[in-house]
């Protein structure tokens, strides 16, 4: 049944229906509503048996998740931004030990300067920590991805991050259908762990491996993760059979015959699709739901007919450029296709239909550089740079406060 509910509420209910046995979590905006919801359902007995562990940090949250998962429990947690970074070391341990933890990342910028708003710098910074990464286009997709994530994680013994844009999705009320308990039970059987820490039969996991085999361990992890590219579509099809909701690994929108294709991850897809509809000029959109492992062959097939691929990214690599664009460039090697990166929506800046249309207009006139920033306020940049030129270097540290002052009163502008 479709209900008009908050994204976070829908995720909390969905996670509860996946019957995790342990949820260690630490609150951080904008993920908090999700774990609050899960916690409340554990307390009132809706989700039972399940233990909610209040921990002292995100490092502890992931460490407890590793312990719980190694002990044979289906384990879930959620975080965002600095919290994800604080988990970094433990993330690699979870994947290295092959523990099928499922975690929501409510995507948010990383400081400094501190910023609580949405972009995808957090999960992108952890793209190579050995976790599968799924990105939700809307809340209905986020719901489905969480259910599929448990199947995928447990089938492969690889942890899965479900990334959903903070605030934009987590705090949005929209019509969402959470699958019924019977549907989830039919789709997701109880967890049968591959390895269990048992005091009666002690084993060590995550023990030292030296140069003689470390490369092979890493190769096998890479190989194992790659299996998700074949397995994901099967699991998504099965989910669609049970619930009626499709969860494509990669969505093609108006790509047939399109000369320009915009590639996106996450909730910006809707705005870009509306922009492309308004233009109606042979521009298509490809949305990637599965980003790690990177489905290079599928991406290549989807983009092969384009002349120009524009990767609209909600994060970037300072000093280098596009992150997703680099993967896409590799996938398109040998094809005569131009690849541009447009960095958009950092730290909560709205990505608007009109800005996307303007950018696509520039692309059409061949004026879009290889790397650009959507709606960059060049007036602020120039003022700050000129100040630096005229002030002795040692008296002029990089100072975000200058830019804030020049930008005008916070909250006075719309959009």
């Amino acid at each position: 049944m479709r209900r008009q509910i908050e994204g976070s509420r829908a995720i909390a209910e969905t996670v509860a229906r996946c019957r995790p046995g342990v949820v260690p979590a630490y609150p951080i905006t904008p993920q908090t509503h999700i774990v609050e919801g899960v916690g409340a359902m554990i307390k009132d007995g809706t989700l039972a048996p399940c233990e909610y562990i209040t921990v002292e940090s995100e490092f502890a949250a992931m460490s407890a998740a590793i312990g719980a998962s190694a002990a044979g429990a289906r384990t879930y947690t959620a975080t965002a931004s600095q919290g994800l970074l604080y988990m970094a070391e433990a993330l690699f341990n979870a994947s290295g030990m092959g523990l099928p933890v499922v975690m929501t990342v409510a995507n948010r910028a990383i400081g400094a300067p501190i910023n609580i708003w949405n972009d995808q710098s957090d999960s992108m910074s952890m793209r190579d920590c050995g976790w599968i990464q799924l990105y939700a286009e809307d809340n209905q997709a986020a719901v489905g991805l969480h259910v599929v994530a448990f199947r995928l994680a447990e089938a492969l013994s690889v942890p899965v991050m479900v990334c959903m844009d903070g605030f934009v999705l987590t705090h949005a009320f929209e019509p969402i259908e959470v699958p019924e308990q019977e549907q989830v039970d039919a789709y997701l059987p109880p967890y049968t762990p591959r390895q269990v820490l048992d005091p009666d039969e002690p084993v060590t996991i995550g023990a030292m491996v030296g140069p003689e085999a470390f490369t092979e361990v890493r190769y096998l992890a890479h190989h194992q993760m790659g299996r998700a590219i074949d397995l994901y579509p099967e699991l998504a099809d099965e989910y669609e059979t049970v619930t009626g909701h499709a969860l494509p690994m990669l969505t093609r929108y108006r790509v047939e015959g399109a000369r320009t294709v915009v590639v996106v991850l996450g909730s910006v897809a809707g705005t870009v699709k509306d922009a492309v509809d308004e233009l109606d000029d042979g521009t298509g959109v490809v949305t990637l739901a599965l980003y790690r492992p990177f489905p290079a062959l599928e991406v290549r097939a989807a983009l092969a007919g384009a002349e120009h691929v524009i990767v609209l990214e909600r994060a970037f690599a300072p000093g280098a450029g596009g992150i997703v664009a680099a993967d896409i460039g590799q996938a398109l090697a040998g094809l005569d296709i131009r690849v541009s990166t447009v960095v958009a929506g950092l730290g909560g800046r709205a990505v608007t239909i009109s800005s996307v249309k303007k950018m696509l207009g520039e692309a059409k006139e061949n004026r879009l550089p290889q790397l650009s920033f959507l709606d960059l306020r060049t007036d602020l940049i120039e003022r700050e740079l000129s100040r630096r030129d005229t002030t002795p270097h040692h008296k002029h540290p990089l100072h975000p406060q200058h830019l804030l002052r020049d930008a005008g009163a916070p909250g006075s502008r719309i959009g």
Binding site: T29, I116, H171, A172, A269, G270, A350, A409, R413, I414
Partner: protein, 189 residues
Amino acid sequence: MFEVRMHGRGGQGVVTAAELLSVAAFIDGHEAQAFPSFGSERMGAPVMSFCRIDDEAIRVREPVTSPDAVVVVDASLLHHVELFSGLAPHGYVLINSTRSLEELGIDELTERHEPDRLVTIDATEIAREFIGRPLPNVCLLGAFAALTGTVKLESIEAAVLDRFRASVADQNIQAARAAYTACQKVTHA
């Protein structure tokens, strides 16, 4: 698509109001989307929330920059925030205030917009009367229903009943009904 932007301050229920409006529109059979534009959450800071209502699935997620209606929960924001930025010529304005547009210094709005769609209502006082606290958000939704006709009053009541415990919901519903009637009187005067 009908797009609404609400302005107020942290603690006044601006975000809840947009959420309830979206639930009411959904109950009415529409597609709806509501979301906040927080600063860092704190009491008293300017807060915006948005609600879109349509008969087709809503994909766009940008803030509402061309609203069909603006609801101002806190009139002290009037000359600090671009409250009416992008407001459509046929747009509705609903301001929580004891004062008239002229007294608020914004009567120039009547030059660009249809005067009978611009309403000020003392929602805080109505809220005090029925809820016992100055919480004008649900009350303003009642006035909004009367002013714009985009949602049914009973759908707002259903949304409120679903969200709050019975005693709180009942007080808010009384306030919304009173504001609905008051707004009808103003717009049909």
